[in-house]
């Protein structure tokens, strides 16, 4: 893949030949691809955030895209130092820039898949008033999209010929937990509130148990 490849070529390679992109990100001495991937990730997350915001409307039209894209970026930045050290622990010879590229490629793939789910999510957003139901649906879509994105790290271990993958698996767990907690730290993303950000600190599991699993049944279908 040429080092000055355009956005279209990068995204096409990401979807159809991810190993090639990973190799380019990890082995090329200088590459601007990571910046383009970061930009696409932010945009795709923001667009999916619009779909999330369409459920409640009002301030959420602006708040949800901001929170979803900022949350994704923040989660990646929080976990990037540990990704570098954990990648070193696996024995991988890869630069920080290369790893940042792989991380943003993961977010981009996640964002693209979320965009693919966006029409489905929108249809269900219009079909119910239940925050618990639609929140769970968005979470499910995010889990599916992220699982595809995380496969890029599996490709990376093959490209870099890493035998010991346990550290990257531990990092994956940390990353997922940070993302899940970020959804609670930046609430409300789906519902509405007087405040843009929460005034009380909650752990995501206790918040979900209280708001999602014990929520009242949704209203009768329209």
């Amino acid at each position: 893949m040429p080092s000055d490849a355009g956005l279209g070529v990068i995204l096409d390679t990401l979807l159809k030949r991810p190993v090639l992109l990973i190799r380019e990100l990890c082995e090329a001495p200088v590459s601007r691809h990571w910046a383009l991937l970061a930009l696409v990730a932010i945009v795709t997350f923001a667009l999916y955030g619009l779909v999330i915001g369409s459920f409640s409307g009002g301030n959420q039209w602006m708040a949800s895209p901001l929170k979803v894209s900022a949350g994704g970026l923040l989660s990646a930045l929080i976990c990037l130092p540990s990704l570098y050290i954990f990648a070193c622990l696996t024995g991988a010879e890869v630069s920080l820039r290369g790893l940042a590229g792989v991380l943003f490629a993961m977010l981009t793939l996640t964002g693209l898949l979320l965009l693919g789910f966006a029409p489905v999510a929108w249809v269900f957003s219009q079909s119910t008033d239940s925050v618990a139901f639609i929140g769970t649906l968005h979470l499910l879509f995010w889990i599916i999209a992220t699982s595809f994105g995380l496969r890029l790290f599996s490709h990376m271990t093959k490209v870099l010929r890493v035998a010991d993958r346990v550290h990257l698996k531990v990092w994956t767990v940390i990353f997922l937990l940070v993302c899940l907690q970020m959804t609670t730290a930046l609430r409300p993303i789906v519902g509405t509130s007087e405040h843009w950000l929460p005034t009380e600190k909650r752990f995501f599991i206790s918040y979900w148990i209280e708001n999602v699993f014990s929520a009242a049944l949704p209203t009768a279908p329209r």
Binding site: I78, C79, P81, S82, I85, G91, I174, V178, T184, F203
Partner: protein
């Protein structure tokens, strides 16, 4: 070789490149390891102590690297003797450097996890809230998990280095387990002496508890077990 490049190689655990470093006599690598431990543990310790108070963060940032240095110094002679009697072929100087390098790896892992620990702090019920007990427990649990993981990683690297340097794998493993047992034994007690690291909500913020050398970690564990049973 640049110090940063060496730290990366140390993390990667390339024992073929790392093993010859034990033969160097210049103090530069020693200093690099010591500074890395100081900086990495101070960064992580500062984040851990933040939940209790900014002052506790300062205290913990000082005490975490101090605990490591005191463990290394306190067991230096014993570890060197174990290396001799188990036939590792390592000198006292090489023994201390090998152990210092393993603590350096642990410090790098903890430093890398500091942003995650800070994020956890930002999302933990604060001291002033009704759920402060939950906040204290969550901070403690995450701290234990992170330190345990860093410790396991660092010790696996140390064992690999010993297997490379010792004449036999058996000698390497005997030396390794003897060092680990000694460091854990002393380290646990030093963590007791240097407490608090997180800071209990009901107690005042202190650099050290009153009469810190009184009592010990193992008596406290036995007392807790006895209280649970009865």
């Amino acid at each position: 070789m640049q110090p940063l490049r060496r730290l990366v190689i140390l993390c990667r655990g390339d024992s073929e490149q790392i093993a010859p470093w034990l033969d160097e006599r210049e103090p530069r690598w020693w200093l690099t390891c010591a500074l890395t431990i100081a900086a990495g543990c101070a960064l992580y310790g500062g984040v851990v102590g933040l939940w209790r108070a900014p002052l506790q963060a300062v205290y913990t940032a000082i005490k975490m690297p101090l605990m490591i240095f005191l463990t290394c110094a306190g067991n230096a002679l014993l570890n060197g003797l174990f290396a001799q009697v188990f036939g590792s072929g390592l000198s006292f100087r090489q023994t201390s450097l090998a152990i210092l390098m393993s603590f350096t790896i642990a410090s790098l892992v903890l430093a890398a996890l500091s942003p995650v620990a800070f994020f956890i702090y930002l999302n933990t019920p604060p001291l002033a809230s009704a759920a402060r007990g939950t906040g204290h427990s969550l901070t403690l649990l995450c701290d234990v998990l992170f330190i345990a993981y860093a410790g396991v990683v660092a010790n696996r690297r140390l064992l690999r280095l010993l297997e490379r340097r010792c004449e036999t794998v058996g000698a390497a493993r005997r030396v390794f387990w003897s060092w680990l047992a000694g460091n854990l034994f002393l380290g646990a007690q030093l963590s007791w002496v240097l407490r608090p690291f997180i800071g209990s909500p009901g107690l005042a913020i202190q650099f050290l508890r009153d009469d810190p050398l009184r009592g010990n970690f193992y008596e406290a564990v036995l007392f807790s077990i006895h209280r649970l049973i009865h």
